[in-house]
């Protein structure tokens, strides 16, 4: 068998490269935008995903941390400790402000937790946990703002000494800093309250969450997985419409390119197609030629697009470490499906062209 379709497509390497690159770029647009939002959703839920808590308790109706306000009376902690399946309870305070130094500022979550407790930074790359008047800062934000251990920073209108550096808590949106629970409570002026209660369970977290919600009024409870999913849903639902708009534009660009590639490939081989038709190749056969070229273009373009997107991710990570470009399997599936759809629509005009080719053209002299 002679791979006629593949040879027709790749005979002119430059044109083939331009065509594949054009479709690839359209797919890169979709993959990169998807990747930025996927990376952001992962970053947004990092505090929850890395927490040792099995269950989170928040103010009733509050199901996220991101940009939410939650107030839970500390008095309920004793009640919760008595419930079966609860092995530990820890309160944290959550606020938002900016981390300020002479070199600049970054929007920041401010997390107050009892020193030595489980609500603080899960990893310390340098230094130690904060004591009164001290603060732990993320290393990425520290690098961007030229902050070192022992430096003074300003958060929530007061100065703090940096006692330690954590990692992985800075995103495209903001960073996170950790102070003691008592320090933050004094600043917030909300005595005897927490923002969230972290619960360790010895039993099934779902059951523990349900029993807490049944026993304690005015609170909502979620397992860590559920809480994380809710958190990621905030970013995802905020961005759905924007992603759809961009995806449609990328689809149109890809459609135009693949249409151009196939049309040009067909035009340049009209005589050859005429010969094949004269030798008996039917409509189905010529259609296969065009469709196989379309598939080759899309598959090659998808492979190139994935490679380019990963490269963009690596370059972005080097230049702007707070931006994560994450290529997820669902994103690849969407890009692949989109590519096939684009190919399916893009072959229409070239197909019509080859169906209409008159085998008699092979007997005409060239002018």
């Amino acid at each position: 068998m002679v791979p006629v379709a593949r040879r027709m497509l790749f005979t002119d390497r430059r044109r083939a490269l331009l065509g594949v690159a054009g479709v690839a770029i359209a797919l890169v647009m979709a993959l990169t935008l998807d990747g930025i939002f996927a990376g952001t959703t992962r970053q947004v839920s990092r505090y929850i995903d890395t927490s040792p808590a099995d269950v989170f308790v928040s103010q009733e109706g509050v199901r996220t941390i991101h940009m939410a306000t939650s107030v839970v009376p500390l008095a309920v902690t004793d009640q919760i400790r008595q419930l079966p399946g609860v092995s530990w309870v820890e309160a944290i305070l959550f606020s938002s402000d900016a981390l300020r130094v002479p070199a600049g500022r970054r929007p920041s979550y401010v997390i107050g937790y009892p020193p030595g407790g489980r609500g603080g930074p899960q990893t310390l790359v340098e230094g130690r946990e904060p004591a009164t008047g001290e603060i732990v800062v993320d290393d990425s934000a520290a690098k961007a703002l030229d902050i070192a251990l022992g430096d003074e920073v300003e958060v929530m209108g007061r100065r703090w000494r940096v006692s330690g550096l954590t990692t992985g808590m800075t995103s495209i949106v903001n960073t996170s800093v950790y102070v003691t629970f008592d320090d933050l409570a004094a600043l917030l002026g909300l005595p005897n309250t927490a923002s969230y209660l972290l619960i360790g369970s010895s039993g099934d977290p779902e059951s523990v969450a349900e029993s807490i919600e049944a026993a304690v009024s005015g609170v909502s409870t979620q397992t860590r997985q559920r809480f994380s999913a809710e958190e990621r849903a905030v970013v995802r639902e905020m961005s759905t419409d924007l992603l759809n708009i961009m995806a449609i534009a990328a689809f149109l660009v890809g459609l135009a390119v693949i249409g151009l590639v196939l049309y040009a490939a067909v035009l340049s081989r009209l005589r050859d197609i005429g010969v094949m038709k004269a030798l008996g190749l039917g409509r189905l056969g010529v259609s296969r030629l065009v469709l196989i070229q379309a598939m080759w273009t899309v598959v090659t373009a998808l492979a190139l697009a994935v490679a380019v997107t990963f490269s963009i991710g690596a370059i972005v990570a080097a230049l702007a470490p707070d931006i994560d470009v994450v290529v997820e399997a669902t994103s690849l599936l969407r890009a692949g499906t989109g590519g096939v759809l684009v190919a399916g629509v893009g072959v229409v005009i070239p197909l019509i062209k080859v169906w209409r080719v008159d085998p008699a053209t092979v007997f005409r002299r060239t002018s």
Binding site: R14, R15, L18, A21, G22, I25, A26, M29, T32, L33, I36, Q59, G61, V62, T64, M67, A68, T69, V71, S96, D97, A98, R100, R105, P107, V110, G157, I172, N174, L188, G189, L190, S220, E230, V234, E237, M238, D241, L242, I245, M246, A249, L252, V253, L255, A256, V257, G259, L260, V261, Y263, A264, L267, S268, I312, V316, A320, I323, I349, T366
Partner: protein, 368 residues
């Protein structure tokens, strides 16, 4: 008798179908660039809607506060009495501003909760229906936000574990990221567990400079003009989103350039004999390059015009289906686009021009 032949134009328009597809392809990419830019411009306007329209000449904040987006401010309500004693101040009212997320009809809604005193500064500036919130449990929603959730004046909804009744619908209080929800100051305090503090004290004054000095001296708080707050909020947003927006614009431009290059290259390859003849009868490299550049620039500019029309259509359609998306373009940006389109045409000419550079004129004399 012997006029110039517009060879570049004729070569470009020889295959109208291909020209149409390529112009549409370039148009889609340029349209995407314009949509991104327009959306970004719109977002920069929308994000500062509150401070632009709250009706205050000064926002009195906790010392060190520079923005609404990125800073937490807590101002003691006792400062109101001190402000009342300043003769330059005509009116001063507290406002509570908090971001919150709640579930509404299965969707996560990210809103800016604004609590103000009934009749005081800081409430909704334009109501299309109903009235302002007067008591705890009442709320004013953005009209487009309410329509999306089939809410109207009199409807109830759940937020933060509490039931609210919609008493009014506001205009111009929504962006694609967030919507404003107006409640009373008491409601906001209850929801946030706040004590006797406000986020800002909004001030009206006919003598802002004198008022600023007096407020600082008496209270130690920071009086900030709304334009400064707005500028700082835009800077924070730019710090977050500008990188990804520019990255996407760059990729879209690369896509448009490739479409132009592909179109012209395909045309060049198909007409190699004609180009060979042109070279054989004495056209120099400059003339040949001119033929190619003429085609690429023509397609790039035509595609950009189509892209602008697609942007207008796309912005209109998106605005109808999703009114929270605002688009706005400045003339300066369109001029930059026009220059970029020409640049795109020049870059796209490189590969076809190289192909022609390697063409041997003698090839036209070879048989099939």
């Amino acid at each position: 008798m012997f006029g110039r032949v517009p060879a570049a134009r004729r070569m470009t328009t020889a295959d109208p179908r291909r020209l149409a597809v390529s112009v549409l392809g370039v148009g889609a990419a340029i349209g995407l660039v314009l949509l991104l830019q327009g959306l970004w411009n719109g977002q920069l306007v929308q994000i500062t809607a509150y401070e632009d329209h709250a009706g205050a000449d000064l926002f009195v904040a906790q010392s060190g506060t520079e923005s609404i987006l990125g800073d937490r401010s807590a101002v003691p309500l006792t400062a109101l009495a001190e402000l009342a004693a300043i003769p330059q101040i005509q009116q001063a009212d507290p406002v509570h501003i908090h971001y919150t997320v709640f579930d509404l009809h299965g969707e996560k809604e990210f809103v800016l909760l604004v609590g103000s005193d009934p009749g005081g500064l800081g409430g909704p500036w334009e109501l299309s229906n109903g009235r302002q919130a007067q008591t705890v449990g009442e709320a004013v929603l953005d009209r487009t936000f309410a329509e999306e959730h089939d809410l109207e004046v009199g409807s109830e909804f759940q937020m933060g574990g509490r039931t609210f009744r919609t008493v009014g619908l506001s205009e111009g209080t929504r962006s694609w990221m967030t919507s404003l929800v107006f409640v009373t100051a008491d409601t906001a305090r209850v929801m946030t567990g706040g004590g006797e503090v406000a986020t800002f004290l909004l001030v009206r004054t006919a003598e802002p400079d004198e008022a600023v000095a007096a407020i600082r001296a008496r209270t130690g708080l920071d009086p900030i003009p709304p334009t400064t707050l707005a500028e700082n909020d835009r800077e924070i947003l730019a710090g977050i989103m500008e990188g990804p927006v520019l990255l996407m614009i760059g990729i879209a431009f690369a896509a448009a350039t490739l479409v132009v290059a592909l179109t012209v290259y395909s045309g060049v390859v198909e007409r190699l004999r004609e180009y060979g003849i042109v070279k054989a009868i004495g056209a120099g490299p400059g003339r040949i390059l001119g033929l190619v550049v003429g085609q690429t620039v023509f397609i790039a500019v035509a595609g950009s015009v189509v892209g602008y029309l697609m942007y207008l259509g796309g912005a209109w359609l998106v605005g109808r289906l999703r009114p929270q998306f605002w688009f706005s373009l400045q003339w300066r940006q369109l001029l930059v686009l026009a220059a970029a389109a020409i640049g795109m045409g020049l870059v796209a000419a490189i590969i076809p021009a190289r192909r022609l550079g390697q063409l041997e004129p003698a090839s036209v004399y070879r048989g099939w």
